[in-house]
Amino acid sequence: MKKVLMGNHAAAVAAKLARVQVAAGYPITPQTQAFELLAEMKASGEFAGQFIAAESEHSVMAAILGAATAGARTFTATSSQGLAYMHELLHWVAGARLPAVMIDVNRALAAPWNLWTDQTDSLSQRDTGWMQFYCSNNQEILDTVLMSFKIAERVMLPAMVVLDGFTLSHSYEPVDVPSQEDVDAFLPPFNPEFSLDPKRPRTFGALVGPREYLRLRRRMAADMAEAEDVIEEVGQEFGRAFGRSYGQLETYRCEDAETVLVTSGAVGSTAVAAVNALRERGLAAGNLRLRSFRPFPAKALRAFVRPGLRLAVVDRNYSPGAGGIFAQEIKAALRPASGICVRGTVAGLGGGDITVELLQEVWRRAHDAPLSASEAETWAEDSR
């Protein structure tokens, strides 16, 4: 059934459809409506799980750690400072191999205060062991939350579904909401092999020595690598069930493109319009949107590129002293390949507009760059 939903509500509705058993939350702009809708659905009986309104994000993620170790399917939502405050617990949940799912509504980090979209919050968590999926519209938010539970519970790693603050979180779009029966058929109940159970006493998270620690990390690395395939499989399976397929990468008019915009999140939708505008002028433009950032889709990316291709990477994030984070990771993944120009541009930090015109300019700069260029990132600003 089609419903007009804001991004935050699309996520909460998906959590309910996933039959989440424990949801926890704390209010933070621009995530708050996801938390509020869960509370409302709990009050009305529409959401049958346990709902914890904790006193901080640190405690929210600790509650998720406890509930998931007890064997429950868990969900939460946060943003920006809240995600940063959760940082310690993100390591705990991933290290404990718990398949929790959370939405992060992208928002810049202080100082100075800023409420608007910027990927630095989620990308700062890239080394925690959480999978990260970036969405470009509200339909994709709902669908990705559902797929995330399936992927997370197969590889036993937590997943973060990322959406742009305000641009998606507060924008209303028609969303096809699947029926509970169809979701149940796609997503069976979560039944972990190990959980806190007095009948079978086990210890979780105890001290281990270097040998066990390294082996557990290696195991995590192997499962992260496997997740690349699982994401593709579940994306296809979702397509068979609901008519919308997803992969780690989404390409648009890339077959004969000479220079390809590389985007993520809602910028991916704008980039489609930018590519159309460039194509109308006879320019060989395409768009490549990265849907998964962890695991990094290195295999898929290497299969995508060909010698002579220019990639114009748009980063709505910045790692001081290094540059745009997607650009860095793409360069690292493509290092073995030669003859490809990767040019990073930092744009739209703290909610700055990334317009069709700006993306055309970013594309043009990359298109005109020498193929062998290995230059520092550039910055682009909406000129209005």
Partner: protein
């Protein structure tokens, strides 16, 4: 032989505690009161080690190790997770030291207490950060030597009144305990099991390396703490307080303080001040 304390042992031999550790006695008696259907959440504290490094375990119950600041929040989640899976019987116990309770874990503790989460929070209070090698915590008494309050005078501030902070949350059950009074302690844990909502027990837990005391004196010290009036054994049920072990003739606080090397720097003035504090407190609540 009929005993007043359940004979069942849920704690194993072979734990990694120091000789004379009060926290092992505390766990042993707690388990006798709590029984089998119990799950533990343990944040960073001595019991992180005492519970056993993987794959060993010194208690026959499930344990979730949690981050330092988050015992009460993780326990909140465990209870919610168990209930969500249809298990309303299992008792959830957060088991934390004074550092994880008085200091870094206070926010999560306050949050869970205020929400009246349905679990038991236990603070085994050995009055300093003992697992990291005796540094001052908010539970360290005035005049006590620690590694982070060196010098003759020891810790400069009085012990934080955590009981008052916890009680300010209007919780259904609060108690103090110490291993020298094993029957009192076991009874309180059994009672806590039967109560619904947020329950809190603070256990005074002697620590020979941190208190610079003889391991054989741990039970004696925990008894002296009560008999000098420095540590009151009481419980508060739905706002009604009751002293469980009245001390009609209190011993001088010096009996307790002088048996511990950590109070070596205590001046006669400080000792007198502590005595006056104890006297005022007890005269206030009656004998």
């Amino acid at each position: 032989m009929k005993t007043s304390i359940p004979p069942q042992e849920l704690m194993r031999s072979g734990h990694l505690a120091c000789q004379g550790c009060g926290a092992t006695l505390a766990m042993r008696y707690a388990l006798k009161g709590l029984g089998e259907k119990t799950v533990f959440v343990i944040p960073a504290c001595c019991w992180t080690i005492l519970a056993g490094p993987a794959p060993k375990s010194s208690i026959d119950l499930p344990v979730l190790h949690s981050p330092f600041a988050a015992a009460a929040a993780a326990a909140t989640g465990v209870k919610a997770g168990l209930v969500a899976r249809g298990d309303r019987e299992t008792m959830v116990v957060a088991w934390a030291g004074d550092g994880g309770t008085f200091d870094i874990g206070l926010q999560a503790l306050s949050g869970a207490a205020e929400r009246d989460e349905n679990f038991l929070y236990v603070c085994y209070d050995n009055e300093a950060y003992m697992n990291t090698g005796v540094q001052r915590s908010g539970g360290t008494p005035e005049g006590s030597w620690t590694m982070s309050t060196p010098g003759a005078r020891g810790s400069p501030r009085p012990k934080k009144d955590l009981d008052a902070i916890v009680l300010a949350h209007h919780i259904p059950y609060f108690a103090t305990a110490t291993p020298a009074y094993a029957e009192d302690m076991t009874r309180k844990f059994a009672k806590a099991r039967a109560v619904k909502g947020f329950r809190f027990i603070r256990v005074l837990s002697p620590c020979p390396p941190g208190w610079k005391s003889d391991p054989k004196d741990s039970v004696r010290l925990s008894r002296l703490a009560v008999q000098t009036g420095l540590f009151r054994l009481y419980e508060v049920e739905n706002g009604v307080a009751r002293v469980n072990v009245p001390v009609p003739r209190r011993k001088p606080v010096g009996d307790y303080l002088r048996a511990q090397g950590r109070f070596k720097g205590l001046t006669p003035e400080m000792e007198q001040r502590m005595q006056r504090g104890v006297d005022a407190l007890w005269d206030g609540v009656g004998k």
